[in-house]
Symmetry: C2
Subunit: 302 residues, 2 copies
């Protein structure tokens, strides 16, 4: 599981700071999460192949999280993309994009699907054989979802040497990987555990931005490997949190602790502070494993 | 008169090439012309004060000319702008921006005026004491206007030494600047030309992008000091012009020659070519004074 931060600052794009966008690679999928202005350029800078992105998840309709979407969709068209593209985001996102296509007389040549969200409960919005994606209802000034990406439980790992030694016919290997006991060539029942080991623990990633401190999300993101949680403010501006519906680094850490996550990645920093060290220091008062995101940073969680 | 090119490439923004946007400074005005994705960041890089921009002119609703507009408007709001902002552009531009404001629940705190255009004739769209702006109807795949920026005829320059010598009361200086003859303190009629000289020649700038080769614009832009004309293609791709409704460098030069302009600035280059030299060479076969735009280039036409 690999996370590339294209932008991690709040409010407005600047010469040296980008607004929110990130790419999550998980089990051969490449998911784009949020799409602030300039995202297509940042994807190019990171040499991320446009065609590998088939799913875009938008948290909410504030500009710093989606003003780059229409440009990305339009560029895909100009580059003669053929692969389908699925966009998940709040109700209204389809109208915004299609209105601009209509006025530009520029419809996509590829299939573009919008999955508009309006539920306030966590929903399964995507799944295939290997991953599933759920919404994480957040509380912000407008309707907002985080997203939970989870690998599905994989097959058990077969030790082929042990299986051969146990004289099991290869026709049964599939059943062994699925966890069944099988009979060997001599009619002896072989216990699954004697020739297989546990599947790798499925990885999981929770993206939570933007939101006020909200303990309701704890059960949804319980035990995830990695939590990206917004931390717009330091403690000295904690009073701005409830008003603007943002969180502090310490609040993000408190959520991470309650949810027993593996790693907390902080982001969505206000640009009012000189540096980012304060975010880490304040979060570490509450939770041990804290990382700071940064534009262009790549995290390998394999 | 000063022209700052923020972006001069066609189609899509890339790591090293920006889409169309430029700032024209003329007679203490700062006009933003087109606003491709990322324009707000390029304005910051050039340290152009946002508050000095009061008028934005959009040629047409293809993304490479306006996808940065909603972000700019939104950023002005976040920065608590108070000055009015006027946006000129094709019908539909207001709906695109206001739909996104509505869904973001983020209305501007400053006055935002849209001046939507749909006429196919050249129109006066803005004027004050010192400048006027006219549309230049262009022919592209969708409704498109160029813009003609013209200083108004200034007042005559008064030579105060000569006026004093001629014993003219200062109360008459205003009339002298306006071109009138006046009586001096001794009742003698003083001819205006004896104490004043001609006003500086008013400057003019025509922005023409995007358009197929279109001689109809020649009378509108006749004798302008500077013409920015799109030149998407070199001659070897001239056949693409009529189809995509773009021009070649040579066609831009032909328009410049027919209109007897002072300087031709080429732009809106396709990124398919290795460099830009070919554009200049081909245009110079037809017209002498050719300049190439470039992202970040500043032209001083004073």
């Amino acid at each position: 599981m690999k996370l590339t931060i294209l932008g991690c600052y709040s409010a407005t794009p600047r010469a040296l700071t980008n607004t929110t966008s990130q790419v999550l690679e998980i089990n051969n999928h490449m998911f784009l999460i949020d799409c602030g202005e300039g995202t297509q350029v940042h994807l190019r800078k990171h040499k991320i192949k446009f065609n590998r992105i088939k799913h875009v998840f938008i948290s909410h309709l504030h500009g710093d999280h989606f003003f780059g979407l229409v440009g990305l969709i339009s560029t895909f068209r100009l580059l003669k993309r053929e692969a389908d593209l699925h966009v998940y985001g709040p109700k209204g996102i389809k109208e915004i994009v299609t209105l601009q296509m209509k006025l530009a007389d520029s419809w996509t040549n590829y299939n573009l699907y919008f999955h508009e969200l309006s539920s306030k409960e966590s929903q399964l919005v995507y799944q295939d054989d290997v991953v599933e994606v759920h919404t994480i209802p957040l509380e912000h000034r407008i309707y907002t979802n985080g997203y939970l990406f989870k690998e599905k439980e994989g097959e058990r790992k077969l030790n082929v040497d042990l299986a051969e030694e146990a004289n099991i016919n290869v026709a049964y290997y599939r059943k062994l990987k699925q966890g069944f006991d099988v009979e060997n060539e001599d009619g002896v029942l072989i216990r699954n555990e004697s020739v297989t080991s546990d599947a790798e623990k499925p990885k999981s990633y929770a993206f939570c931005s933007d939101t006020v401190y909200k303990e309701d999300i704890v059960p949804i993101i319980k035990d995830v490997d990695v939590l990206y949680h917004e931390s717009t403010f330091l403690e000295k501006h904690a009073h701005l949190g409830p008003k603007t519906k943002h969180s502090t680094a310490k609040e993000a850490a408190s959520i991470a602790k309650q949810a027993n996550v593996g790693t907390l990645v902080l982001g969505h920093f206000s640009t009012r502070y000189g540096g980012l060290d304060g975010f880490k220091t304040e979060a570490e008062e509450v939770f041990d494993n804290v990382k700071l995101s940064g534009d262009g940073k790549v995290f390998d969680f394999s």
